[in-house]
C-alpha cells in the first residue's frame, strides 16, 4: 500500500514564512564559510562580500597549528565511546521505567530529571576532584566515563517518552510467544524507538563534540589528549587572533557532525517509510 497524500496541501503562506526563516538561519553560516577564506582586515571591513581568493591557506594553517588531526581523533574517540556507553545504559533504563507499574518508576524518572538541574560549570570543581581521586585527571579516558553520566538524564527522559508511546499489547503478545524480556527489548522495542534513538544520538553527539570547558579541564590541553573544541581556541589571543584561521578550523570541526546528522536523518526516514509500508 503506498502512502497517500495527507489531506490538503500546506498553505503558501507557511512556505514563505519558512523560507524567510531559512534565510535568517543560513546567512550567519554563509558568513562563517566565506570568512574562513579571508584575512582579519577583510573580515572586519567587508564582512559579507565574497572572499578575494578561495585559497585554502587558512584551513591548512588551522590544521597544522593546533594538530587538528590528533584533536579530531580524540574528539571522535570521546564522542563515539561516550555515545555508545550512554545508549547501552539508557535504553534498558528507559524501557524499564516505561514498563514499570508502580511508584518506584516515577521516582527513578524524577531522579534522572534532577540531573538536568545541575548547572554544568557549577559541577566543574567537584568533578575535578573526582577525576584526581580516580587517578584519571587530564585524560581522555575520564571523559569516556563522565560524559555518559551527564547525558543520561536527558537521554533516559526522552527515550522513556518514546518507549511509552509503544502500545503494551506488543509486549503481551510477545511474552505469550515465550520471548524473554531482554529479547523483547532488543528485537521489538528498540527498533520501534529508532526515531527516539536517532534523536538522542544526535543531541548527545552534538553536546559531546562541541563541549569545551570540561574537555579543557578534565582531558587537558596536551596535544595527545585534547579534543578539537579545545584545540581551536588555542588560536585565540587577546591581541593577535586571526579570525579567518579560527573560523576555518571551526568549519573543519563541523563537518563530522554534519555527516553524522545526515546519515542519521536518512536512517530515520527509512525506518518511518518502512513502518508505513508495513502498516
Amino acid at each position: 500500500m503506498t502512502r497517500k497524500n495527507r489531506g490538503e496541501k500546506l498553505p503558501l503562506v507557511s512556505h514563505i514564512i519558512v523560507a524567510v526563516y531559512v534565510l535568517i538561519l543560513v546567512t550567519p553560516f554563509y558568513f562563517v564559510l566565506i570568512s574562513s577564506f579571508k584575512s582579519n582586515t577583510e573580515i572586519f571591513n567587508f564582512p559579507f562580500s565574497a572572499p578575494a581568493s578561495f585559497g585554502l591557506e587558512n584551513f591548512v594553517e588551522a590544521w597544522e597549528r593546533v594538530d587538528l588531526d590528533k584533536a579530531l581523533v580524540n574528539s571522535a574517540l570521546v564522542t563515539g565511546i561516550s555515545l555508545s556507553l550512554t545508549l547501552f545504559l539508557a535504553i534498558p533504563a528507559s524501557y524499564a521505567i516505561a514498563r514499570f507499574r508502580g511508584k518506584a518508576g516515577d521516582y527513578v524518572e524524577r531522579f534522572f530529571a534532577l540531573g538536568l538541574l545541575i548547572p554544568s560549570f557549577a559541577a566543574l570543581v567537584p568533578t575535578v576532584f573526582l577525576a584526581i581521586w580516580m587517578g584519571l585527571f587530564q585524560t581522555r579516558e575520564f571523559l569516556y566515563l563522565f560524559f555518559p553520566a551527564t547525558a543520561l538524564p536527558l537521554t533516559v527522559i526522552l527515550l522513556t517518552q518514546f518507549m511509552r508511546a509503544i502500545p503494551s499489547e506488543l509486549q503481551e503478545s510477545a511474552s505469550i510467544d515465550g520471548a524473554g524480556r531482554i529479547r523483547i527489548l532488543v528485537s521489538i522495542y528498540t527498533p520501534l524507538v529508532v526515531p527516539g534513538i536517532a534523536t538522542v544520538t544526535i543531541l548527545n553527539f552534538l553536546s559531546f563534540w562541541n563541549e569545551y570547558l570540561f574537555s579543557l579541564i578534565l582531558a587537558g590541553p596536551s596535544p595527545t589528549e585534547r579534543t578539537s573544541q579545545v584545540a581551536l581556541p588555542i588560536l585565540v589571543s587577546q591581541t593577535e587572533t586571526e579570525f579567518g584561521v579560527l573560523l576555518a578550523g571551526a568549519v573543519i570541526t563541523m563537518i563530522p557532525v554534519y555527516v553524522v546528522y545526515i546519515i542519521l536523518n536518512r536512517r530515520l526516514e527509512d525506518v518511518l517509510v518502512a513502518g508505513a509500508v508495513k502498516g
Binding site: N40, T41, I43, F44, N45, E61, E64, R65, V66, V128, F129, A131, I132, M134, G135, L136, F137, Q138, T139, E141, Y144, L145, L216, I217, G220, P221, S222, P223, P233, I234, L235, V236, S237, Q238, T239, E240, T241, F243
Partner: protein
Amino acid sequence: MRARLGAVAAIALSGLFLGGCSSPQLSNESVETESSESSKPSVVTATTLSILSNVQAGTPAGDVLDAVIATFEVNTGAKVELVQVGEDIPIIYETSVAGGKEADIVMVNLTSNTKPWLGQGISVPVTDFIKDWNLTDSILPAAVEIWTDSEGRVQGFPYSGFVWPVWYNMELLNSVGVDAPPSTMLELLYVARELREKGIAPFVIGGNDWSGQKLFLQIIQSYMPTEEAVDVFSTGGYCASANAMKGINLFVQLRDEGVFIDDAEGYTAAQMNASFFEGRAAMMSAGSWAMGASPEDLRENVVLGGLPLPSAGSAFSKPTAYQGYTGGGFFVSNNGAAEEKMPLVKEFVSLWYSPEVASSWAAATNAPNAFLGASSLDGGITNTLTKQVVENFYDRVEFAVMPDPLLPGGMAPEMIRQTSLAYAPGSSSTAICEAIDGLY
C-alpha cells in the same frame, strides 16, 4: 559484559600509567650533576621539562620558541613537553596544581589572574635565580621591577615588553590641513571636527573591551600625579579625587563632542585595528602587538605619538602613552623548582636570554621587549613602526601609569563592563565614577 570489563581494565591501567608520569625517570640518558666539594650524593637530573605556554605555534614568535627548544634538547639530551594554549592558562594551571600535574615552566603574562600565584604558593620566587644564573645583565631592570611584588620577590623572568602609543594616520590628518599630531586637547577637538566634516572617523577605540578601558584610564590620568593615580587605581575613590573627576569630565567632553567614532562602545580591539588599518579612522590607541599585523603600505603614513594634554593643569609635560613589561614571562612552578628539574630550568632560561635569541625574538615580535641590549640589535627589525619606537618615540612621550598591575584581582572584567557603558552617550561623570567606585 566482556566489553565493559575490558574498558574498566583499560581505564584502571591507564590510571596507573599516568600516575607515574610526572616523577623523574632514571635512564641511560640522565645527566648527573656533580658537586665536587660537598659529600652530598649527586642528584640525577630529570629527562623531561614541561612547559605551558601562550606563545602561538606557527607564528614568528612560536618559531623562536621552537628553535630554543631544539637547541635545548641538543644541549641537554632532555625532552621538552610543550603545551600551547590560548587564553585559558590560569584555569588550566590552577586545576593542574590541584592534580599535582602542573608544568615546570609557565610562559604567560603578568595579569590579575597570574599575580596571585606567588602568594598562593603555586609558583616560586626567581629573585635568587636571576642572581645565581648571571642573568642580571641580560634583563632590563625596569622589567624586573614590574615583576617584583610588594615584598621584594620577583615573580618570574620577564621577556616581553610593549609600548602602547596613539597611532596617527598622517595621510588622513593632512587631508584636513593638519600636518602634525595634535598635542593639546583643544587641538584634538579641532581636528576631530574637521575630520568629521570630511566624513572620516576621528578616533577609533575598542570601547567594548580592554582597549577602551585602558584609554579611559589614560584620559582620566591627565590631571593626576603618579602617586595619586597609583593610589586611586589600587584602592578606588574616583569620585573623591578632584583630579580624577577633572579627567572624567574631560573624557565625557571628548565623547560628547564626537572625538570617538560613532558607536565606539560597540567596537572590540580587533574591530578597531581593522578599522584603522583600512583607513576609516584617523587615530587609534593600540599596543605594539598590532604593529606586526599592520598593512605595510599604511606604516609609512603612521606617526606614533601620545595622547594630547589638556591645555592647563596637566600632570604631564609631554603627550602620554603606556608601556609595560607584563606581556610575557617565565613562571617556575613547584614541580619546576624540584632539585632534579632545576638544571633543566636553568639551561632553558639561560638559553632564552642569550643574545641570539634576544635578537630573533625582537625581530619576530617587532616590539620592544625586556632583553637588555636588544635595542642595539635592531638591525634585525624590519617593521618601520617598530623602528620608529626604537629610534625616536621615547623622546616624544611621557609614560602614564599602567593600571593593570594595580587593579585588584578579578576586577578587570567588571570594570570593562562599566567603561563600555561610559563610552555610550548619555552617562554622566558622576554616574561613571560611582559605578567604578562601586567595584572596589
